[in-house]
Each structure stands twice: as structure tokens, then as C-alpha cells.
Symmetry: C2
Subunit: 216 residues, 2 copies
């Protein structure tokens, strides 16, 4: 049985976007049950937690004696167990690994910079000058992924952990109208978020944080 | 024989920092020779190259029939061949994978944002307001890695691809005085950059770009 660590509660804007979603989704795809371990923000700042997760973040996954952080590493670890997440063929596996890193290093940082500006800083005096700069690079990256998806249903062969990660990355821009400028990207995103495992994982995260908020 | 794709030439500020350095270093650690394939910026924008590297970037590594982009994926791929880069034990390997993603997703984006501001945008009207914001998060991440290095020579057991990646990430702030505020981080960085494989890889990159600039 896996144990997934996430926050006990988060601000309402984060509900549905906490990165435990990536691990929940992968575990649902693999049909694996899991327990939750909950940490408060105060717990996450303690030396004990920092020895486990040096950045004070979530998720952490415990798999027997092994404790892992970084959602990318957790998903590749689960992928080694469940071929539905990561193919066995070495070349196919290398392609999925490639798109796993692409999601987290070539796309996420640029989308996160733009999403953070739009969500939190539009009233700052520097926002007007920064926004077009951040939009340009984020839209460029979205367009590059859109072009890659020409003739493809998923990023690297069949559905894989790379699609899970890239979907959650693209969702950083939900409700901002950027993704919808790209037809193939939008169709792929909709294909991924229509999966029952995604819907179950998202519903479970939302339920968890909503219940914690109601109990607080 | 491996074939490593990099740019034919780059602006002088990028010499010594192009990401092919990560792959060169790993190949030197593994004692593996490689050929270079050179692309111009114009080549990198062509549909043919984008089918290979959808973001128009370098490095790309060709290993027989397999063509890989994303330095993190390339280094994990090489690690599967050479235990000096990635341990065989599954738990030890998972820890290295974790720190590989930590370098590229939990640290690099924040250091890159600060490095880009300091290198390119200090004269912008928004720079004065942005700099302390970007410094705070970058210094926080550096401090978290510094704390992790307490009692450790390397990020995850012996020297590995995680140290290669994190070293090149930390080098984004070279010459800016931030890293040197952290004793363990500085000692670890110096331990990594003292390795003969690093020195050879860096010298080879600098020689390549310097010769191309002289020939242009």
C-alpha cells in the first residue's frame, strides 16, 4: 500500500491544483489504492520534514521503505511497476522519460511564471511591462507542444506519465484563454482530462480539501 | 559512438553554459567518446529539426537508432549504461532520479529567473521591484540545498548525474555572489567542478565555441 503525503489544507485558489494530483492520477491509472498522510504548513517547515522533503513541499510518496519526493521521480518510479504508465520497450520508455522532463523543465517554468503573474500580481506596477514578455515565451512553448501533437494522440506513443505531467502543467493556465488558442493542444488536454482516472483523482483532491476547509 | 548535437556558435555570454556541457560531462565521467553535430540557430527553427527537438534547443543525443532531447532524460539514459553515473540499486537509483528532477524543476527555474534578470534586464524599469522578489526565492532554494548537504559529499550517495545537473544549475549564478553565501553548497560545487571530467567537458565546450567564433 502506498502512502501519499499532501497538505492538510490549502488556500482555495490551490484546490484542484496541488501536485499530489499527479500522483493520485497515476495511482488511479494503475488501479492502486493509497493512504493519505496530511501535513500542515507548519509541519512542512520542520527539520524532520525537511530531511524527507528538503523544499518543504508536497507530494511525498512512501512505497515500503522508500520515500520519494519530486512528482516526476515519483511517476517514473510508479511507471517501473505499471506498464500502463510507462512502456517496457527501452526506446519507448526513453521517449516517455524525455517528455516527462520536457513537461517539467521546458514547459512548466514558463507557464508558471505567466500563471503566477496573472493570478497574483496584475496590480503590481511592473505587471503591465512583464505580462507581454511572459506571454510570448509561454505561448511559444504551448505552440511547440501543439505542433508536436500533429498526428499524435499522446506525447510519446500511448498515454503515459508524460501526459499526466504535461496535463497538470497546461492546467496552470486554466481559465486564462491561452491554451484554447491551440486546437491540437486543446484536443489532447481534453482527451487526457476525460480519463476516468483523472476525474477520480481530481474529485478526490477537491473533496479532501473541501472537507478540511469545512472542518476548520 | 554517441553523437551530440549542439549549436555551431552562440553569443559570448553563453560560452561555458550551453547545456551540451551536461552531456559532455556525463560522457567524460563514463569515459565515452562522442562526435559533435553542429546546428545553426536557423537550422534549429526548421520543421525537420523541430520533429527531433520540438523546442528548437540543444542538446540532442543520438545513440544508435535512439534520438533523445532533454538533458535530464539524456543523463538518465546514459546512467542506465554506466553505473558511475547512476547506481544499480533500485532505492539508490530512485534517490538520484529524485535529485535529478529537483535540480531541473525545484531549483533551476528560480535560479534562471534571477540569473536572467541580473544578466539581461537590470536596466528595465521593473527590475528594481522584481529583483528582491526573485532573490528571495532563489536564495531560499539555495539554502534548502545547502541544508540537505549537511553531512553529505554529494546529493544522493556517491557522485551521480544529479550532481552534474545541479552543478550546472547552480552555475547559472556564477559571478553574482549568491552561491558563496552558503558554505556547504559552495564546498559541494567546488568538489564537483574540480572533477577532471568536468574540466575536460568545459574546456572542450569553450574551445569549440571560441574556434567557431574565430572562424566566423
Amino acid at each position: 500500500m502506498y502512502t501519499l503525503t499532501t497538505f492538510r489544507s490549502v488556500p482555495s485558489f490551490a484546490v484542484g491544483h496541488v501536485r499530489d494530483l499527479r500522483v493520485r492520477w497515476a495511482l488511479e491509472e494503475a488501479g492502486q489504492p493509497y493512504d493519505l498522510r496530511l501535513v500542515d504548513f507548519a509541519d512542512a517547515a520542520t527539520p524532520d520534514y525537511r530531511r524527507e522533503q528538503p523544499f518543504g513541499q508536497v507530494p511525498v510518496l512512501q512505497d515500503g521503505d522508500l520515500t520519494l519526493f519530486e512528482s516526476g521521480a515519483i511517476l517514473l518510479h510508479l511507471g517501473e511497476r505499471y506498464p500502463t504508465l510507462l512502456p517496457r520497450d527501452p526506446a519507448a520508455r526513453a521517449h516517455v522519460t524525455m517528455w516527462t522532463f520536457a513537461a517539467l523543465n521546458s514547459v512548466e517554468p514558463y507557464l508558471a511564471n505567466l500563471a503566477n503573474l496573472v493570478a497574483f500580481s496584475l496590480d503590481e506596477p511592473w505587471a503591465a511591462a512583464q505580462r507581454p514578455v511572459l506571454e510570448e515565451i509561454a505561448l511559444k512553448r504551448l505552440g511547440q507542444v501543439d505542433a508536436w501533437l500533429e498526428g499524435r494522440d499522446f506525447l510519446a506513443g500511448d498515454f503515459s506519465v508524460a501526459d499526466i505531467l504535461m496535463t497538470t502543467v497546461v492546467r496552470l493556465l486554466d481559465g486564462m484563454g491561452y491554451v484554447e488558442r491551440f486546437d491540437r493542444l486543446t484536443a489532447w488536454r481534453n482527451r487526457c482530462t476525460a480519463r476516468p482516472a483523472y476525474r477520480k483523482a481530481l474529485a478526490d483532491q477537491v473533496t479532501h480539501f473541501t472537507q478540511e476547509a469545512a472542518a476548520a
